[in-house]
Assembly symmetry: C2
Amino acid sequence: MRFELTVLGTSSAIPTKTRNLSAQVLNINEKLFLIDCGDGTQLHLKRSSLKVNRINHIFISHLHGDHFFGLIGLLSSMQLLGREKEMKIFGPPGLDKLIFNQLELTKGGLDFQLNFTELNEHKAEELVNESDFVISSFPVKHRVPCWGFLFREKKLPRNIKKHFAKQHEIPIKMFNKIKNEGADFTDKTGVTHKNEDITTKPPEPRSYAYTADTVYNPEMIQYFQGVDLLYHEATFGEDKIKEAKEKFHSTAKQAAGIARDANVGQLLIGHFSARYKDINPLLTEARSIFPNTIAAEDGMTCKVNRKK
Amino acid sequence: MRFELTVLGTSSAIPTKTRNLSAQVLNINEKLFLIDCGDGTQLHLKRSSLKVNRINHIFISHLHGDHFFGLIGLLSSMQLLGREKEMKIFGPPGLDKLIFNQLELTKGGLDFQLNFTELNEHKAEELVNESDFVISSFPVKHRVPCWGFLFREKKLPRNIKKHFAKQHEIPIKMFNKIKNEGADFTDKTGVTHKNEDITTKPPEPRSYAYTADTVYNPEMIQYFQGVDLLYHEATFGEDKIKEAKEKFHSTAKQAAGIARDANVGQLLIGHFSARYKDINPLLTEARSIFPNTIAAEDGMTCKVNRKK
């Protein structure tokens, strides 16, 4: 099952010659989830290999323009392309008004429904629960209400060993009990086979967390402890640690501290201030604390790999 | 004096892999004028060699998103970059409300003033009058109120021949009369020199017209008769002439007919429907009517040359 992230924009606040504004797409088994939607996101989607009509859920972390000004353009283009399917949008209170106001003032009706869900400022909340994965939001600390998002695969059932299933006639009801409940199996001759002998362990469920914009805040670790991949903003380097705090952003090193303390598998840093033409110093700072760190680049796709 | 156009986006309605949404910058003697501002325009400005802080005037032709959804992002980035100078914005009624609403809902105050001027739906109107050029708007016919813009250099004064100015002491007051009013000059010895003998003709003033989105409409020729460069939309080819009319757009051939009948110097076609992967057939159709036609490409800069 595919579980991979494509990063469309990695610049904070303003775009640069090489970095677009915040937007990412998580592909879970060919369902696409758009996370933030800075100005111009529809262009970068168009120029990627991602299929826009597979996006049915959009998550907006906060109401700073570099994270959502591209939403109205994307929705309008979806309308022009004949979209009929409902679009679920999860975002801060007021986002619905912003979008509907613009649609009204431009007389730009949509033929598909927009279904807005306001995020909860006080606690983590489940947003989407499908057969194979769950998506939730958690509050982070920024200058305005802001949320991170957590994407978790569900635990898969155990697999019955093929040669055992072939040798024995296992009733369907029993089949499910063995896979999902760890039941043992007694065959026709009265012999009982222990579950651990006749099944194999499924692969561990994978998980991805996106912190959006946040000041260094160990309190939020509870929400994504042990995830396989963590995207943590790293707007500044250690040279600007004071500015990071004042502006409710993080340094690369702080991001790495969070990754280490949350015991994540891999750290992806991004949302770099336009002042850093070369982000290698930030990467070096982060790796000094958490070696398995990579720096986000526009257009990169990375698989969410299971923690070793 | 520089008088040149940079095209930032040439796709209609939705962006394609190679064409952005409508936006252009006219450079008149290092003053930059932004004409339309589709989603993502701030990125394309950033990636051009144009200096964003030299833009003090923005012209929005109509309230279809592909022509203005990038405006709020551009203004917000200008704020982040420390802009203090007033920005003059010329656009349809309601544009001010759209922008102020978004600034209010996102608590995104600006430290520079936005000065909105509503365009006149009934007649051409002068918008900007500076020492060396004049900018005006004219109504065109589209599904919603829509305007074109005309940029004209002012007529330059005649030049007094250098050797004559050296030979004779010409009082400043007389100097200006000779240059601007065609006055003759009587020298100290009482000899009168005819204006045409002592001056040379200045270069002809140049002009550029932008039609925005419009159905084929010969009535608008009055507004830009004889311009040096005309940008006329050519959303469709002749294969879609019916669709062009229904959607209040033009074909490339119709654009060329307007260019011919308006006796312009050069025609630049753009705003191509995303259905045309190759726009050469449209260019061929236009050239069959008006040979001096070029097709707009994203990022191209073309000098506005005087008509031959």
